[in-house]
């Protein structure tokens, strides 16, 4: 279990048989009503969002969505959202806030889509605005990193009261390949970069970025029911904890959670 290298986990996190958001919705929730569109430009299939129920509780679910065969991969843009995806995500979260329903997000993306149209419509603004608004959303938010946590594209639906992470998921500021290409000038150094970036669940737990690591057997595949039920139990536990807090307390704790993140040195003069 622990003899996996960082790059082994990168490959497990990207495994095509790993459960995606819609798989989990089927496994963990009782039903799901999908909502579409950002009301500004279009509907982005790389993000799914809607209402669901879990053990008779009403929650909003938002998550990145990848495809499995060539056609659906293309349709889902390989799980790389454009600005309209992030704006749809926030729109659904604001509905949840309006009706005092908790939000659960599933993070699984190589990153926000780097393309001409995405830039034209304000990819950076869409991500930035989500960060600010999620930080002050007046309802509980639980984030689960289920596969690939690809930088800003992941964080844009990743600000919440609890951040859970699957044992073999990864979460990083840059892909190992991207990092290797820049620092080693050669993308084939990706395994080395993966190690250096400290992107595993265990690393993130140690840095205080992740609150809980959900154990996997030996990887996590669509057919595997035990891991999914463990995740469900964990989500329910955190939901019931968070629902006990007043909104003011919730927001104060969420602010402090992110406020503490980072390690630096302070000299006194």
């Amino acid at each position: 279990m622990s003899d996996k290298t960082a790059f082994d986990r990168v490959q497990l996190a990207r495994h095509p048989d790993r459960p995606y958001t819609l798989d989990l919705i089927g496994k963990i929730f009782d039903d799901f009503v999908e909502l579409h569109g950002d009301r500004r430009f279009s509907d982005d299939a790389a993000i799914v969002a809607g209402f669901a129920s879990i053990e008779k509780m009403q929650v909003a679910v938002v998550g990145h969505q990848k495809g499995r065969d060539m056609q659906s991969r293309k349709a889902r843009n390989f799980g790389m959202p454009k600005p309209e995806g992030y704006r749809k995500a926030l729109r659904v979260m604001k509905i949840a806030e309006k009706f005092s329903r908790p939000v659960i997000t599933f993070v699984d993306t190589p990153g926000a889509y780097p393309g001409i149209d995405a830039e034209e419509r304000g990819q950076a603004e869409a991500i930035a605005y989500n960060l600010r608004e999620m930080a002050r959303l007046r309802t509980p938010v639980i984030v689960v990193v289920i596969g690939e946590g690809g930088s800003g594209g992941a964080l844009a639906i990743g600000v919440g009261d609890r951040i859970l992470m699957m044992e073999n998921a990864i979460y990083s500021v840059i892909s190992p390949e991207g990092c290797a290409a820049i620092l080693w000038k050669d993308a084939s150094f990706a395994p080395k970069a993966a190690q250096a970036l400290r992107l595993t669940a265990k690393d993130l737990f140690e840095f205080g970025v992740v609150d809980e690591v959900v154990p996997e057997d030996d990887g996590w595949f669509v057919s595997d029911e035990t891991t999914s039920s463990l995740l469900k139990r964990s989500i329910l536990k955190h939901l019931s904890d968070l629902c006990l807090l007043s909104t003011e307390e919730l927001l104060r704790l969420r602010y402090e959670k992110f406020r503490k993140m980072g390690l630096f040195f302070e000299a006194s003069f």
Binding site: G122, S172, A196, L197, R259, F265
Partner: protein, 289 residues
């Protein structure tokens, strides 16, 4: 026998031929846009904007702070907050070594310098990023300094002005760099709720995690002319879509046209523009403690 006799030896070359040049390094600077040779003093006077073609040279953080505040006076903040090496990151060089080299090369303690002062009579908390410190990248220390700046502005009821210049999050600090985006944005959320102004000024270049967090969150977003501004860098986009990018893509004027900026402002008018905006946004009935 000649009338005059040489008492002293013949004058020989005192200076080697190779060194017989007029030394102009540091006196003249060539404009990288129009090629004009510009006298350094003249360039300083025009705030490092080419007087011939209007090209904006990159500008140091301290220089910019001095030019923003009334009479160039400000109180530096959190100068002691500096990067450590939480990941013990090592590529071709250790991150520790990169930090030391950046400090020596830039003369700065970090990639952002912050200060408190008065701008056109308004209390302003300003931060300026500097490309000469590891590409202006944002690590924990940068995140902390900017967050403290915003929190101070809330406490003392002032405005926030941030000049961005950055390649994005600093990968040598891994996930902790990424989380600075959330940390700063959360602080800006509080500033927003407190109804205090935030002016974001994007300078060349502003990309990655900096654009995708505080740079795009201004009540008013400004950019200097022709600055490169975007989420993904042009090279990454070209590799993804496998085609050349159109001319002027991701430049200030392009962003203005696409509705991402309020205005593109020449550096020589920047201070006056900021003061005019603050005159509107610093409302006494809201900023009183």
């Amino acid at each position: 026998m000649s009338w005059f006799r040489r008492k002293k030896p013949k004058i020989t070359e005192l200076v080697d031929d190779k060194e017989r040049t007029v030394r102009t390094e540091g006196v003249f600077i060539k404009c990288s846009e129009c090629g004009a040779a510009l006298y350094k003093g003249e360039l300083e006077e025009s705030e490092y904007v080419c007087p011939k073609c209007g090209y904006h040279f990159r500008m140091g953080a301290r220089e910019r702070l001095k030019r923003l505040f009334d009479n160039g006076i400000y109180e530096p903040l959190d100068e002691g907050v500096m990067s450590s090496d939480p990941l013990e990151f090592f590529d071709s060089k250790s991150y520790k070594q990169r930090i030391e080299e950046a400090k020596a090369a830039s003369g700065l303690p970090e990639a952002v310098v912050t200060g408190k002062g008065v701008v056109g009579g308004h209390l302003v908390f300003a931060g300026v990023m500097d490309m000469s410190f590891i590409g202006g990248s944002m690590g924990s220390a940068v995140g902390e300094k900017i967050t403290r700046l915003i929190e101070r502005a809330i406490k003392e009821r002032g405005a926030v002005v941030i000049f961005s210049a950055s390649g994005g999050a600093r990968m040598q600090e891994g996930i902790l760099s990424l989380m600075q985006m959330a940390k700063i944005s959360a602080a800006l959320g509080r500033l927003h709720e407190e109804r205090l102004p935030y002016i974001s000024v994007m300078t060349d270049p502003t990309t990655g995690g900096v654009t995708a967090s505080f740079a795009m969150l201004g009540d008013v977003n400004i950019a200097e002319p022709k600055a490169l501004i975007g989420f993904a860098g042009p090279r990454v986009i070209e590799q993804t879509i496998r085609q050349k990018l159109p001319k002027g893509f991701q430049r200030s004027e392009f962003l203005l046209e696409h509705g991402m900026l309020d205005m593109v402002v020449d550096r020589r008018q920047m201070r006056q523009t900021i003061i005019r905006l603050l005159d509107f946004m610093m409302n006494d009935s809201l900023t009183r403690k």
